[in-house]
């Protein structure tokens, strides 16, 4: 008897915990509300099944606990009941799957008007690159990376020259403008993850991966690395600042481009030469 009561209290406790929990997801700051909605839907359906199954079990424990000589039902199979349960479960699962697939379809199809951002990760830090006036990012190679070319841009790529370089772990984004995050790693796996944006994807060395979102709330957010990348994993943080279009443009204008960098370096070399003379 006490067993049933304790199990019941466990279920009740779980429900109460869910209702009164102070720990729940952060306020969403991107377009992926659909993900939250699917989670909520799954929560209701799944939670309902969980509670129903457990309550049924507890009822059985109360009702049918051992009594000498109790009459027990002997019915090895019940085709009809099994069929009903199968069909109902299949329908339920399909109902959960459908929104999941629809949203995934949005997730892998990036809107045309999105701005591409090259997020480069290493142990343990981030830096960012935005396309310049041509709207295209230059191609890159890991072997090109050095102090003069921190992003490893291919020097013969015409699209690379005007790329805007943000050598900081904080990136600014324009509010209500979709961004396509292009992830790149130079050493191990990383994952550029902002909980408020919901979306994430691994950065894999040797390929470029992508995902997109549309920030829709102005503010500052913390970037976490969400794929284990060595002992510094927990400390690998970055930042995002979502700004309204005007301040964003202002910020963008302050950033240096790849050609700026090259020009500066050439000047440096010249002054060095000058000193020697």
């Amino acid at each position: 008897m006490h067993a049933g009561i304790i199990f019941f209290l466990v279920i009740l406790g779980s429900i109460l915990f869910h209702i009164f929990t102070p720990w729940y997801w952060t306020d969403i700051a991107s377009n992926w509300k659909g993900m939250d909605d699917t989670i909520t839907l799954t929560f209701w359906v799944g939670g309902g099944v969980f509670i129903a199954v457990c309550l049924f079990m507890i009822y059985c424990v109360f009702k049918f606990s051992y009594k000498e000589g109790r009459k027990v039902e002997y019915k090895p199979e019940d085709k009809k009941l099994e069929k009903i349960l199968t069909v109902a479960t299949t329908l339920g699962v399909a109902a959960l799957l459908a929104p999941g697939l629809i949203i995934w379809n949005q997730y892998v199809n990036v809107p045309k008007n999105s701005i591409e951002i090259d997020v480069m990760a290493w142990q343990w830090g981030w830096q960012y690159r935005l396309p310049g006036e041509d709207g295209k990012l230059g191609t890159t190679k890991v072997v090109n990376i050095n102090d003069d070319n921190p992003f490893g841009i291919n020097m013969d790529d015409p699209f690379g020259r005007d790329d805007v370089m943000v050598q900081s772990d904080i990136i600014n984004l324009e509010n209500n403008r979709p961004v396509k995050i292009l992830l790149r790693s130079v050493d191990v796996l990383h994952n550029w993850y902002v909980p408020q944006f919901r979306a994430k994807m691994d950065a894999v060395p040797g390929v470029v991966t992508f995902y997109w979102f549309e920030p829709n709330r102005v503010g500052e957010y913390e970037v976490l690395c969400a794929e284990y990348c060595g002992v510094g994993h927990y400390a690998m943080r970055g930042g995002v600042e979502v700004q309204d279009p005007n301040s964003y443009q202002e910020w963008l204008g302050e950033q240096e481009t790849f050609s700026d960098l090259i020009a500066m370096q050439n000047k440096e070399i010249e002054t060095k030469k000058g000193c020697k003379k």
Binding site: W25, F50, A94, D187, Y193, K200
Partner: protein, 613 residues
Amino acid sequence: MSDEYENNKSGYQAQSSEAITGSAGSTSPDIDYVRPAELPEQDLYHGHTFITKWVFCQDAKVIGVQYFLTAVFTGIVGLILSWLMRLQLGFPGLAGFITAEHYYQFVTMHGMIMVVYFLTALFLGGFGNYLIPLMVGARDMVFPYVNMLSFWMFFVAVVILMASFFVPGGPTGAGWTLYPPQTILEGTPGSGMGILLMLVSLALFVIGFTMGGLNYMITVLQARTRGMTLMRMPLTVWGIFTATVLAMLAFPALLVSAIMMTLDKVIGTSFFMPTILKAGEVLEYGGGSPILFQHLFWFFGHPEVYIVALPAFGIVSDLISVHARKNIFGYRMMVWAIVGIGALSFFVWAHHMYVSGMNPWFGFFFATTTLIIAVPTAMKVYNWILTLWRGNIRINTVMLWCLGFIVTFVNGGITGIFLGNVSVDVPLSDTYFVVAHFHMVMGIAPVMVIMGAVYHWFPLITGRLLNETLGKWHFWTTFLGAYSIYFPMHYLGFIGVPRRYYEMYDSPYMTSAVGMNEFISLAAFLVGAAQFFLIFNVIKTLKTGKRAPKNPWKANSLEWHTSTQPPEHGNFGERLPVVHRWPYDFSVPGAKDDFIPQTTPPSEMVHTKVEKT
């Protein structure tokens, strides 16, 4: 012929005339007819010395216990590691010796030990060896010598694994998934000897397991006793058998990835290694694909989940049926669900990789296949609780563990639907939601079954009944503790706390989660400590415990109907049993007792309404 062999006249291929006119041959009435044995009796090697009897023993039951004890030993190591991890997470800085390197080594070793060396070895090596021959009515496994080699291979694998704690650099700290390039790069803890020993140990485990797995499969397929059809096997055997099939087909992928990674590490090939810039220098790797490793690993890794889960499903079905005094509901459905889940598990592996950067279109395929698996799994859950319905449920320790299993398994299964559904997985993957999910569904739930199975079969193995009061204390502390570890942990995942964080650093997540982390750690210490109830119980029982009567639970399956209890080598004495029915004839209307052993011939049960045989 050596005198160590049973005096057995016939060779293997022959049809022994003795066996043909066995027990239920010509004298019994026609309805009891079971066709004669196809194969002659198996020759067994009977050990005489201590070494051949208890160390290099060829008796599957002894090998099973050896597997069990070795696996439990590694499990205790895993448990201690989890304590250390929780110490760091709940109370960062309290134990000063736990550095980030140590923490990640603990994480890695805990994961690998628990999944492969504890759960897999315990279910298949331990329960599989002990129960398969007994339950299908065989004298022993079909290849006892290979079976013995299998255990010792496993033993060596465990020794090598444990040795990695003591080599320079310590064990590998790359996470139990061993994702390259991380795993073999300088700077990762244990990237020298540690990872090599891990890979060697895994390869040995695979080889050893293949030897054992062949035994389990052929014993089930080719060495059942007379009358034992596949559809009369206890679900325990079905679960272990299907898991073995999965293991035989999934472990090759692990072996291959281990070989390839060893080559990458030792001789500098670039299977998994692209061009890498490390500390300002470009390493001599290039062109490899880290995602390939992930595919290979999860092609093994997902079936591995079911290698752990399916035996648990099988065993819990038997325990529920016996202790609810009622036939398992929908036996046929249960069998097909086990087989179906097993088959489907080879088509879902990349649901672990939705955010890994693989071809994004795979998401559609894998989400669909993954959620299809939910259907047979749900059917199993329904059938368990429908077995309780209108039963006569003994609320003893064994049943409590089963009920605990149902609660935790359904909980973990439902969160699995979150994670399997591709776009829901995106915000939740790599967070504590995942940690909570898989601990609930393949950590706690199978362990509940293991505990139930220990209380259930302990009298068979030792002849003594474990103490019920201690057992109940053990159950409630473990169940309530474990539930309060992992249920709240899901909510950390909702906040977005990533997994594998040594500490939360100075993040906003720190402040909101700190209280819960402390609570979870305390609960974890409690659950670990609660296992002393079991250890104490076992020691006490072995010394002064109540002697178990024969077939104490009044079960039907063959392992309780051996000539002696505990069964001796050869299991069934003079004559092998002849099976006439399925193992779930409990509380049949019209029968004298509330159970009908599988060996009872129909002629003795003519007045009962037996529906299924």
